[in-house]
């Protein structure tokens, strides 16, 4: 397979996955503002949303809700907006149109057309729920097309590698963002109020990754900071947990290389990261979770660099995939 094609397939997977996480985060965060147990500052939520999108904001200024929503959802000039991400997914898929199935291409193309047709003004006023919900639905369709209509060969491996690696990165970022929110809130209220607010932030966190119901099943309705982290990081069969996805990444890298080989730098780093999370000391991580996860995120990015160096480095010009890779973080 062409190195450029492999890279483009990988980025198609990453952008598809990224768009879903961004949309889900926005929806859950925004609507949490409306049904919070006690009034949370609107500015607080909007800043949290901007943080997650990696968007700068003026600390001193007052945020205008519709501007923030447009910026993170609809603004093509913001590379991390949902619409930009969907567009990038489609541009990448279009470049590998001849390698993927018609069904997959049409699913990605329909996704883009839906996103592109959405009216930004309507989105900011009343269409946020519908749009972000539809993004999730379209991503689910695309994932099923990837699974059901591609040969599970190298092309599939690169798309899946992109999906699973992006999911690891996004879940870490989401956990960190919500832990940060909980810390900020707990600094501002009394002890009882803090307890409720912290629990509420954990609930939001679980809902952002659509893990609330399964967490309840796994922990018999008991919900603490520790159970939340255990579930999102280490649950072996929850498909959005970090450990679940790292296991897939390792498996995909082994299949690309042809065999298990610790001398393969990508396999080695992925395996090490997987082992780190598998044998994680949750007592210790609960002490300083944000710092721990930030370090781990650095390793995820380093793994991406390994993959790029080993499989895509034959590309010498500034292709769309490479250009887009520069704003991935």
């Amino acid at each position: 397979m062409l190195a450029r094609i492999a890279s483009t397939l990988y980025w198609t997977g990453r952008y598809i996955e990224r768009s879903e996480h961004l949309a889900r985060y926005l929806r859950v965060q925004y609507f949490s503002m409306l049904d919070a147990p006690m009034s949370q500052s609107k500015d607080f939520i909007l800043k949290s949303i901007l943080n997650m999108y990696g968007s700068d904001f003026d600390e001193a200024g007052t945020l205008v809700e519709t501007d923030v929503l447009r910026r993170v959802g609809m603004d093509y000039s913001v590379p991390t907006s949902i619409r930009s991400t969907v567009k990038s997914a489609r541009e990448n898929a279009g470049s590998v149109r001849h390698v993927i199935s018609t069904e997959l291409w049409e699913a990605v193309n329909s996704f883009y057309l839906y996103s592109d047709r959405t009216d930004p003004a309507d989105f900011a006023m009343r269409g946020l729920y519908d749009y972000t919900f539809e993004v999730g639905r379209q991503c689910a369709i695309i994932r099923s097309r990837i699974h059901d209509t591609l040969l599970h060969d190298q092309a599939w491996v690169f798309v899946k590698l992109g999906i699973h690696l992006e999911r690891v990165a996004q879940v870490i970022r989401i956990i960190n963002s919500k832990l940060h929110d909980a810390d900020v809130i707990s600094d501002s209220g009394g002890p009882n109020e803090n307890k409720v607010l912290k629990l509420y932030q954990q609930t939001i966190l679980l809902k952002v990754v659509e893990g609330f119901d399964m967490h309840r099943r796994a922990y018999q309705r008991r919900q603490t900071r520790r159970t939340t982290l255990e579930f999102l990081i280490g649950h072996p069969t929850f498909s959005r947990s970090i450990i679940y996805n790292l296991e897939r990444v390792v498996g995909l890298l082994v299949s690309l290389h042809g065999r298990e080989d610790v001398n393969d730098p990508a396999q080695f780093r992925a395996g090490k990261l997987h082992a780190y999370f598998r044998y994680l000391d949750y007592d210790a991580i609960c002490e300083r979770p944000i710092a721990t996860l930030t370090e781990a995120l650095g390793e995820v990015y380093a793994l991406h660099d390994d993959i790029e160096r080993i499989y895509f480095n034959l590309v010498t010009t500034d292709t769309p995939a490479q250009t887009q890779s520069q704003h991935q973080r």
């Binding site: 397979m1 062409l2 190195a3 450029r4 094609i5 492999a6 541009e91 279009g94 470049s95 149109r97 001849h98 390698v99 018609t102 291409w105 049409e106 193309n109 329909s110 057309l113 190298q154 690309l256 499989y311 034959l314 590309v315 010498t316 010009t317 292709t319 769309p320």
Partner: protein, 486 residues
């Protein structure tokens, strides 16, 4: 129950125009009234829904093209598609096929001759300075003989039907003719939308084209063990014809490559893959000569492959179409094709040319300047309908300006009498009815080392603006499915 739509209400064929659906002429398809009736029996709104469904199908498939604007960048649009098929009867098509084969084989021989012995130039069949002054002449091709002596593997011949009912050649496209993806997609859209029609009309298939093209590419591949590996070379996703490049690569099961995916080592072309290099035998290039190889052509080209022409000259790779074929699709050369046919094949041309005045010739220049207001003037080296001037639509000032341009650089222009392209019933969305619109036909001929293959049908292009004669997609044109009756 709602009333029939009356989609042909008020249909009027303009005076002096031949309408392929309504006029009577020697090769008119006799069953058009039955097809018309199918449309006429549709209830109000049904046709609109079918039309919308066809459009949506194109949009969802991503069958779009980019229009370049002066402001820069491209806007993505659907190439408008009309549901009323253009039908050509079997006897007329058989004759056209013979004519296309004859014409394109003669053109191929001419190119070989120009880069070889130059017999036609020495014997005055084609003026030497006309060929040698062409911006498409490639000195590096001199004395080089490509595999099978094939230069123009893929030929796009544009035909128009005149008011006498006969087809004439408007121009030849011998570099990278595009449009075949629309032939395939239009047929698919027709099958999805109006499948019932195919039960009543025996239509030649067009879906064999990718296999025909692959066989053609393989027929000119260098012989080696493990080969041949054919690739499609594209400028990239932002090119207006990228969809076509991608479709053909997919249907031929070839790699779709960009310049940086290839490199030359020891005069051999290799593909960069995730598991190392792989040799390439045939490159179906969809980029212009100027960008092929920065060592030989434009040094700033990022689209081509350094050293490609060296590999080509050594016979280690075949480039399709060969570099330098543009000398024969220069619009000024078109006028000499009937003479080429007589010279090389000792035959009379089967399809006639639209008469062409070559402004580089003093007599023709004088005629053109004296009759400018009645003529259509075209720059010789532009495509896509750009630069075409229909002079009876110009005012005196514009005519004078054009005359000055021609006088300043006569070699750059040709003139033709205004051929009244035939019309065909075309659905006009904002009027919700059919109206006559001018059409042409782009045909596709494949010259292989083993045989010549011709796609049965082609791309019927439609000038959607009322009265317009310019059918190019970049100038507001659309297309129709073209049915050749078995």
């Amino acid at each position: 129950m709602s009333e029939a739509s009356g989609l042909f209400t008020g249909y009027t064929v303009p005076e002096g125009t031949l309408d392929e659906v309504f006029s009577t002429f020697s090769h008119a398809y006799p069953n058009y009234p039955a097809i018309r009736q199918v449309f006429d029996e549709l209830h109000a709104g049904d046709f609109q829904r079918l039309n919308e469904s066809a459009k949506l199908s194109f949009l969802n498939q991503g069958i779009t093209y980019a229009v370049y604007s002066e402001e820069g960048g491209g806007k993505e649009k659907i190439f408008p598609f009309d549901l009323f098929p253009r039908i050509i009867d079997a006897a007329e098509w058989t004759e056209l096929e013979r004519g296309l084969q004859q014409r394109n084989e003669a053109l191929n021989m001419f190119i070989g001759d120009v880069y070889g012995e130059r017999r036609a130039l020495k014997e005055g069949i084609v003026p030497e300075e006309l060929v040698m002054s062409s911006s498409h002449y490639v000195p590096g091709m001199e004395k080089f003989r490509p595999r099978g002596d094939i230069y123009t593997h893929v030929c796009g011949t544009d035909l128009v039907r005149h008011t006498d009912g006969k087809f004439y050649v408007l121009e030849d496209n011998l570099r990278s003719p595009s449009g075949v993806s629309y032939v395939l997609s239009n047929r698919e859209a027709m099958r999805r939308t109006l499948y019932g029609m195919f039960r009543h009309v025996p239509v030649e298939a067009v879906n064999e084209y990718p296999a025909m093209l692959l066989q053609t590419l393989q027929s000119v591949a260098p012989q080696r063990e493990g080969g041949p590996r054919c690739v499609v070379l594209t400028p990239g996703p932002f090119n207006s014809a990228y969809y076509e490049h991608s479709l053909l690569a997919r249907l031929m099961d070839c790699d779709l490559v960009e310049g940086p995916d290839l490199y030359v080592d020891d005069d051999t072309v290799y593909l960069k893959t995730i598991s190392g290099r792989q040799r390439v035998d045939v490159i179906y290039r969809r980029i212009d000569d100027a960008f092929l190889d920065p060592e030989v052509f434009r040094p700033d080209s990022m689209l081509g492959v350094a050293g490609l022409m060296r590999a080509y000259a050594k016979g280690r790779v075949t480039i399709v179409n060969a570099p330098g074929t543009g000398i024969a699709d220069d619009k000024a050369i078109c006028a000499y094709v009937p003479d080429m046919i007589r010279f090389y094949l000792k035959e009379e041309p089967i399809i006639q040319n639209v008469p062409t005045y070559i402004c580089g010739r003093p007599d023709d220049l004088q005629y053109t300047l004296e009759h400018l207001a009645e003529l259509v003037v075209k720059p010789v080296d532009m495509s896509g309908g750009y630069g075409v001037m229909i002079c009876d639509r110009l005012d005196e000032e514009e005519l004078a300006e054009l005359a000055d341009k021609i006088k300043a650089d006569p070699r750059n222009f040709i003139a033709q009498p205004k051929i009244m392209l035939s019309t065909h019933s075309t659905y006009i969305e904002d009027q919700n009815r059919f109206a006559p619109r001018h059409i042409d036909l782009r045909t596709f001929t494949l010259l292989g080392a083993d045989k010549t293959r011709i796609l049965k049908g082609g791309l019927t292009r439609v000038a959607l603006r009322e009265g317009s004669l310019i059918v190019n997609s970049s100038q507001g044109g659309g297309s129709k499915d073209t049915w050749v009756i078995c």
